[in-house]
Amino acid sequence: MPARLILTLTALLALTACSYDFERSSEILDRRILAIQVDPPELAGGAPAPDSVQARALVVDPSDPLAVTEVRWWSCLRPPRAADGVGTAENTRCPEGEGTTLLASSSAALDAVSLNVPLPPELAGFLATGSDLPSPQIHVQLEIDSERGPLVSVKQVTVTGKLPEGQEPNRNPALQKLTLDGADWLPDAPRTLKYGECPDEKKKEVEAEDGSLVRVCEHDIEPLFDEAESQFYEARGFSGEKELERERLRFAWFTDAGSFRRGTTLQFDERDPSPDNVGPKAFWREPPTRTERATLWVVFRDGRGGTAWERREVLFE
């Protein structure tokens, strides 16, 4: 083969590293559904099953946080799937027509989107038997009107006929507290900050709207939780067989002003060799131009259907 001198190796590498100027998911620009929580997230056989589960949604809108909008809830049953993703909804909407039930259609304030989702009778019977056969799953679908059309989200209520010995049904995770720059940050207690005032080493460059680079203060936010609360469960793992797993919290960060260095962080896991395994702390950067306030949300998931969130506010002096 003739020898070759590839002069544009650098260009090829640059190609792989190039990025497009898309919106970042951690920045809230318009109305969005950030999460749906169902409680309990898992219905297990062998114990009396409730008639319904409580579903509530985190819906945000920076232009009008308390807006009232049309809300519709559906549910359907999805067949059991053998693929990975225990406790996670299938990437599909409920099919139109037979098999999908419209649970509710009404107006609601964005901060009060919730519903009691009744348990389908056929599943109640299945759970009562405590069978270890693969079970159909309850698929809950929420639709909210917005200026850019309906926003749709799906959420699974996990149904397990029979849990492995010693395993508890899944529950939604909980945080003990959040800290901002090391200090407790309580809910309903906005933190007041002086815009742009921080040590030099805590200033980072961000891009302003006009494309110029501006140095702004960066603040660390750390979620604290009781690791002992992480549940153990069985799942089919890398080996192809059932393995003992432990929940690992995943944090998704959102703000309507400023930006996050990384939009998602993870609970530290000593078994994880990837570079991102550095713990759940997030870094929030102030907006390039001063605003009066900023709202931040963190949605945390246990990776198998359990979901919860926290909301905090920052006020700039």
Partner: protein, 882 residues
């Protein structure tokens, strides 16, 4: 052959007779003619004389032999020179005028001789008179007279040498070596050697000529009592011209076997000189994205086409899945590509077969090349083990990349301040070696080849990341022995066992590691015989086995307050084997018709048990005339699932064989001696394809995920056109066009949807031409329909994963952008006596077409942007060959 002089002999006397007839005719017909053709008579003054009558024609009394032009003599070239000759009344030639020239040399020689001819005087009305006649002088080279039967003392050889091609040092046979001043000449033998005896000492002018080479002139000094040796390096008339080596016409049995020869495999623009990538320009091959070398035959998956080297399947085609191919191009003699409907000799592939043929090493002399560049360096050498004795010949090649040296500084240059420092060391190497020995009727061979890709990544960690390390290595090694022999009873026997080893290892940090290694055995044997004229029978065996050892180790979950448990270790053995026997006949009931029925029986030994397969095949060719042939074929083909799909624990051991039924038919139209049009249609049914499954099955009393099943089905159909110009000394090229459709049933859509690699129209034009002065220019133009895309109209948020999934329209109902690209290649060759140097530039995407390869979407499928393909990329190369 010795040619000392030319003799006219009989030819001259024939000329004399002819001139008499001409003279008579012209005189009779030309009453009143004064000039030009025919005999002219002297016109007397006064009155109108009566028409003169030729009463006696001139007769040639004395013939003079002309000096034969030496060059023409050396070439064995004859000629005719025609004259008008004025003969005076004494019979002497007064003047001669050329009326039909044979070139200045012949004309001059003939003119000189003609002027000295002596005739008996012509008589007009009984009196000697001057006449003009037409005379043709013939030059005819004649074989030398038999030597005198007396005992002759043979003179010693005192001038000898060798004639070779400049640059390659290939011997030139049948070259004419001529000493014009001494009239001595000879020809070179098969080894390019010559000898001359009894050459007169002194300054020797030597002329050497051969039709494909420029004439060579030199002056040598020969001393009394000494032997002078000369090595002459002749220039090719077309410097670096393409060579086709035809070792024997290969019988055409198949409907679609496309063969590319070595010269066509190394200089197609845009392929980086990579022979396997050249296949991507054949009909039936879909375009692979970017510079991927994946072989996408008639819309199928890459794993549905089997690639072999000398009949041995190879698991990896390219380094790092998309880099250079694993075989040095210099080792390759030709590539046979069967896009489908292939014969019973091959199997285990639903789509096509690629059989790379390595070339036997040069048995006569040392030859090699060295290439060095920023990415890799390598060498190729071939030579006989002995120049005197028959110890066989050997060829070796090896290559190693330098990317591990280049990449780290580039990564460091792009590193942002505060970001982790990354050291990435990917490198690859490959090797090939071949040994051939002919002992009487037995031909023995040994081929060893292998490849290895290694990647080591080490990241230092920063305030945002923890330290990270990754090591992977993959490769394969094969050793193939071969034996063949024609027997006295007419059988041609061959046997080729192969042993191999295929390792894959990875390690992530200190906690995760694994390996999948296999030991591989392959055995091919065949026996072929022409039972009677028009009926050839071949039978053979084709055994293939891979013994996998799968091993993974990863950490387990630790409970609070407990010591971390030891890592989980998985060790599994998976054996996959298939044993095949085949039989095939080539039957020609009459010359124009050829029918090739075949049957292949194969038994697959998979983890889930035996899977037998009976695969009938039939092909037919009918030559309507010398330039038009029709052909058709049908066959059943099966293929085992991939090892990962059928392995216990990781896959579904109960999977069965995949199947395709293929039909093809078309014509071959020889438009000219070197231009062939091949037009064929095909229709393939595919079923029992392996697809992922979400179902549960019961095994050993437990409901377990099925993971895969054989419910996939699809079909592919289309038309392929190949207009190919044979490889000649200066040119090769082809036009390939495919119109096709490949679909597979989609369970969700409940309809057939286009497969991932379906491209409706694929047009490729390739051509390369060698100009004088060592220049070669080539081009490639491609135009293909975009790949199927599923339209997206928005996104839905999955609250469990935290991400969005697209809201899709009908699967595959849209098409990506049409792809079009022009590539150029220019090469300049310098030929020195003993070696050659070439420099080339390969310009991909000359007009920088954007050619989006995919669509990028934002996180919630509202905005999108095209992911463009490769831009204009120039590459440069240098090669030295000796």
């Amino acid at each position: 052959m010795f040619v000392h002089s030319r003799r006219l002999g009989v030819q001259a006397r024939a000329s004399a007779a002819r001139l008499l007839v001409v003279a008579g005719v012209l005189l009779a017909a030309s009453a009143g003619a004064y000039e030009g053709a025919g005999i002219q008579r002297q016109v007397t003054d006064g009155g109108v004389p009566p028409p003169p009558q030729l009463t006696k024609a001139p007769e040639l009394l004395e013939f003079v032999e002309a000096a034969y032009p030496p060059e023409a003599l050396a070439r064995g070239e004859g000629a005719e020179v025609a004259f008008f000759i004025d003969i005076d009344e004494t019979g002497k030639v007064a003047q001669a005028e050329v009326t039909r020239s044979a070139g200045p040399e012949f004309d001059a020689a003939a003119h000189e001789a003609v002027l000295k001819l002596r005739f008996s005087p012509a008589e007009v009305d009984g009196q000697p008179a001057p006449v003009r006649i037409e005379y043709v002088y013939h030059f005819v080279p004649k074989p030398p007279p038999e030597p005198e039967p007396t005992a002759v003392v043979e003179k010693p050889v005192n001038f000898k040498g060798r004639v070779v091609q400049r640059g390659t040092r290939d011997p030139i046979a049948n070259a004419s070596v001529y000493l014009p001043e001494q009239g001595l000449a000879t020809e070179t033998d098969a080894d390019g050697r010559f000898e001359l005896r009894g050459v007169t000492p002194g300054r020797l002018k030597v002329e050497i000529s051969e039709p494909k080479h420029k004439k060579f002139y030199t002056v040598e000094e020969l001393k009394e009592g000494e032997v002078t040796e000369l090595t002459a390096y002749l220039w090719q008339k077309v410097e670096g011209g393409f060579e086709t080596v035809v070792t024997g016409a290969r019988e055409k049995k198949e409907v679609a076997r496309r063969t590319l020869q070595k010269q066509e495999l190394q200089s197609v623009p845009g392929t980086f000189g990579d022979p396997l990538r050249v296949l991507q320009n054949m009909p039936g091959m879909a375009r692979a994205p970017y510079i991927s070398g994946a072989l996408l035959v008639r819309g199928s998956q890459p794993q549905d086409t089997q690639v072999m080297i000398d009949g041995v399947p190879i698991p990896l085609l390219y380094h790092f899945a998309g880099g250079p191919s694993v075989v040095n191009a210099s080792f390759i003699d030709r590539i046979d590509f069967y896009p489908g409907a292939y014969g019973a000799k091959y199997g285990r592939a639903l789509a096509g077969i690629v059989d790379v043929g390595t070339r036997p090493p040069e048995p006569k002399r040392l030859h090699g090349l060295v290439d060095i560049d920023l990415l890799d360096s390598g060498f190729y050498l071939e030579a006989p083990l002995s120049s005197e004795k028959n110890y066989g010949a050997v060829a070796v090649a090896a290559r190693r990349s330098y990317i591990d040296v280049l990449l780290p500084p580039i990564l460091e240059a792009f590193r942002e301040p505060g970001a982790a420092s990354t050291v990435a060391s990917p490198y690859y190497w490959d090797y090939q070696a071949r040994y051939d020995l002919t002992l009487g009727k037995d031909r023995l061979g040994l081929v060893v080849f292998g490849s290895s890709d290694l990647l080591e990544i080490s990241q230092s960690g920063s305030e945002e990341t923890q330290p990270f390390s990754l090591d992977t290595s993959q490769g394969f090694h094969r050793l193939r022995m071969s034996w063949s022999r024609p027997t006295d009873s007419g059988w041609k026997l061959s046997l080729a066992p192969t042993l191999g080893f295929t390792p894959f290892r990875f390690r992530i940090g200190d906690l995760f590691k694994g390996s999948i290694t296999s030991q591989d055995v392959n055995l091919r044997g065949a026996a072929e015989k022409e039972l009677w004229k028009g009926l050839t029978f071949e039978t053979g065996i084709d055994l293939n086995a891979a013994f996998y050892k799968v091993q993974f180790e990863f950490p387990q979950v630790a409970r609070p307050g407990e010591e971390p448990p030891p890592p989980q270790v998985i060790k599994q053995y998976v054996d996959v084997a298939s044993y095949a026997a085949y039989a095939e006949t080539v039957w020609s009931p009459f010359e124009q018709l050829k029918i090739v029925p075949g049957i292949r029986f194969e038994a697959y030994d998979l983890p889930g048990g035996w899977r037998p397969s009976l695969e009938p095949r039939i092909a037919a060719r009918y030559a309507l005339n010398d330039w038009l042939t029709t052909k058709a074929a049908f066959g059943v083909y099966r293929q085992a699932p991939q090892p990962a799909e059928v392995a216990p624990r990781f896959g579904n051991p109960e999977l069965g064989l995949l199947r395709s039924r293929q039909t093809a038919g078309g014509i071959e139209w020889k438009l000219t001696d070197s231009l062939l049009l091949d037009l064929q249609g095909f229709y393939n049914w595919r079923d029992r394809l392996v697809v992922s499954s979400q179902d549960f099955v019961e095994r050993e009393g437990e409901q377990v995920p099925e993971l895969y099943d054989n419910d996939g089905r699809g079909r592919a159909y289309g038309i392929e056109l190949l207009l190919k110009h044979d490889l000649t000394e200066r040119f090769y090229g082809w036009v390939a066009y495919t119109l096709s459709r490949s679909v597979q049933f989609d369970d969700d859509a409940k309809a057939y949807v286009p497969v991932e690699f379906d491209q409706s129209h694929i047009l490729t034009l390739v051509g390369s031409y060698k100009f004088d002065g060592g220049w070669e220019l080539g081009m490639r133009f491609r135009l293909t329909t975009g790949r199927p895309e599923t339209p997206i109209s928005g996104g839905t948020f999955n609250s469990d994963t935290g991400g969005y999934f697209p809201v899709e329209g009908a699967p595959g109902s849209a098409r990506g952008a049409t792809f079009h690209q022009l590539d150029f290649r220019a090469e300049k060759l310098w030929t020195f006596e003993r070696w050659k140097l070439s420099v080339y530039a390969d310009l991909q995407n000359v007009y920088n077409a954007a050619n989006p390869e995919a669509t990028l979407w934002d996180y919630r499928y509202r905005e999108n942007a095209p992911l463009r393909g490769l831009p204009f990329i120039p590459t440069f190369g240098v090669k030295g060959e000796f």
